[in-house]
Symmetry: C2
Subunit: 433 residues, 2 copies
């Protein structure tokens, strides 16, 4: 026979319930405190915390269930100015929904999780239960809602592209080999080739999905698998039209946080990014000069990015800054050159508070340009036959970008290490939990 299901009230809904009403809560025991006269059980559910008060005679034989045990609590809503939220539950009946829980590896009821990174990650299924830790992902999820909402409204369509690919042609390095029914395959480093093909079909596409990088470096900002927010669109003039979409997307992600993750935002005192009506742009050449780097440097070092970020904040009142024109020789073969000087490219990186968050740009769209670019690398266009179909049969001028979700969240909460905001990080040394 099925157990009867009482109507469940969430902790956050309690202050809307009239005093004296009987309600049923369900959640984890966040903390128990048995005192001489009175005992407290703090219950945690997905919405927040609720205080349950027990007189000595109301405490079950054997005491209150240990922290993290899941329970059902039925009791009376009682106003109490001293209680969190101004309301508590009295005369409760507590029912265990599972066995008494083992003692967690960390004290989740403490206001801050003061633990080292290895403990945080080794016990991820438990440490993510801490309200502060959980709030980090709530910011990420709210950003995704804002991302999709912005693009849906602008005529983009969601796509899902294969993560198993035949060849490591895009960059050649840092790919994970897969045994594919006895043949060799690779994990996609990005949906780049596919999203371009899909622009030929849908014009405007986006994808939220995993990408895989066999990064041999153990740094605070690289992961072997991360969530990439990919956008690609056709009928652009150049990369500046792509930047305009990126700007709207970032504004949409911020709006998503404000709308769906208010409490998480407050928990971190998140200062929401200041995003101007038009993304400020500096040319790579000028960026090198500004940071005092030699004019023949092929890329910006992290320290350069920090300096540029600080400069944008101070002089442009912007948390974001696009650096355009990266040297062609350092960009992938499908990059569109800068029309007036093909030393440079129509590509950009977007710095968010001094850290690279987004890479994007205009791509080549002419078949003959692809053939020339591939041959210039000493490769055969035949190896790219499937991809090149798209361009042989007519493609619009197009471009796009990719945002790293974890980098976005890390900067929002000022995490020292990207792993702190990743649910179950994968890196050189970590493949579990």
């Amino acid at each position: 026979m099925r157990p009867r299901q009482p109507v469940r009230t969430l902790a956050a809904e309690l202050n809307e319930v009239d005093s004296g009403r009987t309600v049923t809560l369900m959640g984890h025991v966040h903390r128990r405190r048995e005192l001489a006269a009175v005992s407290f059980l703090i219950l945690r559910d997905r919405s927040g915390l609720a205080q349950v008060v027990l007189q000595r005679t109301e405490v079950p034989d054997g005491g209150l269930p240990p922290e993290e045990t899941t329970v059902q609590v039925t009791g009376v809503v009682t106003a109490n100015g001293q209680a969190p939220g101004g309301v508590e539950i009295t005369t409760p009946t507590i029912t265990l929904l599972t066995e008494p829980a083992q003692t967690p590896p960390v004290e989740l009821w403490r206001p801050a999780l003061n633990i080292g990174l290895p403990t945080l990650l080794d016990h991820a299924p438990v440490t993510w239960r801490h309200p502060t830790q959980r709030a980090k992902w709530e910011l990420a999820a709210a950003s995704l809602r804002g991302f999709r909402r912005t693009l849906d409204a602008a005529g983009f369509i969601e796509v899902h592209t294969p993560k198993l690919v035949e060849s490591a042609t895009e960059s050649g390095a840092n790919v994970f080999p897969v045994d594919y029914f006895g043949r060799s395959a690779y994990l996609a480093q990005s949906p780049q080739f596919f999203k371009q093909q899909l622009v030929g079909i849908f014009e405007r596409v986006y994808e939220v999905g995993p990408v895989f990088r066999a990064e041999p470096h153990d740094t605070v900002r690289h992961l072997a698998e991360y969530v990439s927010l990919d956008v690609e669109l056709g009928f652009v003039r150049d990369h500046r039209d792509v930047l305009a979409v990126l700007r709207d997307v970032l504004v949409g992600m911020v709006a998503g946080i404000e709308e769906y993750a208010g409490p998480a935002m407050e928990r971190f005192n998140v200062e929401l990014p200041s995003i101007p009506a038009e993304i400020p742009v500096i040319h790579f050449r000028d960026a090198l000069a500004k940071v005092g780097a030699p004019a023949d440097e092929p890329d910006l070092a992290p320290e350069h990015e920090r300096v540029l970020g600080a400069w944008a904040k101070q002089h442009l009142e912007s948390d974001i800054l696009a650096v355009e024109g990266y040297p062609m020789r350092k960009r992938p073969f499908y990059t569109h050159p800068q029309p007036d000087d093909p030393t440079w490219s129509n590509s950009f990186d977007l710095l968010f508070r001094g850290v690279e968050l987004v890479t994007g740009g205009q791509r080549l769209h002419k078949y003959s340009d692809y053939v020339a670019a591939i041959e210039a690398r000493g490769e055969s266009p035949t190896a790219y036959a499937a991809y090149l179909q798209t361009f042989a049969h007519g493609m619009p001028p197009h471009g796009g970008f990719a945002i790293g979700l974890e980098r976005w969240t890390a900067r929002l909460v000022e995490a020292a290490n990207i792993r702190e905001v990743t649910l179950f990080p994968r890196d050189l040394n970590r493949l579990s939990p």
Copy 2:
């Protein structure tokens, strides 16, 4: 210098523009027809088709650009009852946005793509441009919007879990091995273990992402990589509470199609699924009896599912039917048994028009039950240490389900082969495009 960008009008917007106004369209040449007196260019953009009419003197030297070339067309909006949509473009100026396109491998301008499956798939970047083909994915994308909207409104949070996993513990078979920095890893067959861990954190989670099955069979309904719509929720009584959420999700997916993919729906004459207020349920034991199968059959054959689907349609006026109670010995170790008879399980399959679309059920939630279930398989709980943390430290009764996106779309458009609705299918023989 940046080219000036004219305001772009989409084909579908033309009938809202006053006659006599000059507009600029951008798109692919869908078809060109040069006749003695007058020529036609049908332009295709993401919104639909537009007819462009050229007098003999207006045709460029060398003729109209070949099919699939991307062009910009500026001309005058002119009412014409004979033209598709009642409007056409006259006195046009046509500008090529790329090189003239090579002749496509299929005639995309024909109303139907009458080609074999290998041609469809080998030339996917081009064949998906056909409006009928494209409409299949539009149904899928609209379903995803409805899926997320329903769950967002019900307090679920989106998650993204690793696709690289340490061990093939979930089922042991049909996994793809990955070379992970010299160690062995596997591609996740499902987010099952992760979504359960995340229920301990967020209570209600969903994920849309790729799953990987090294299916050694070449069938019309299996793929090596597909998009799984995963849902998991805590504080349920049993699998029937999970079915109630599944019902709302299916209704939401249908609403998404109605709202966002009306034209695609009409193209296929899609008969939207009839979903009752409560999903009809039949016990596995009774299902076997109904189809005349022996009582000791461990599973339903595809033919059985077809018969059950037809029965549900005829007698219950429902396109869906849940079969509950599958024998425990055929379900994964984390499956919750049926309380009154542990021969059976609290799990279900959902048949959609006679084909398995969803698998789900209630999971074990007690740590001691997991240890016993793993030991009963002759395995050591130590191998599952990371996963078992979740249960040792308190989990609610919970359950969930997974919907295969491509199966959903295939049934909607009555595709004979699931590959017809998959953007870039991956199977035993196919890893490209």
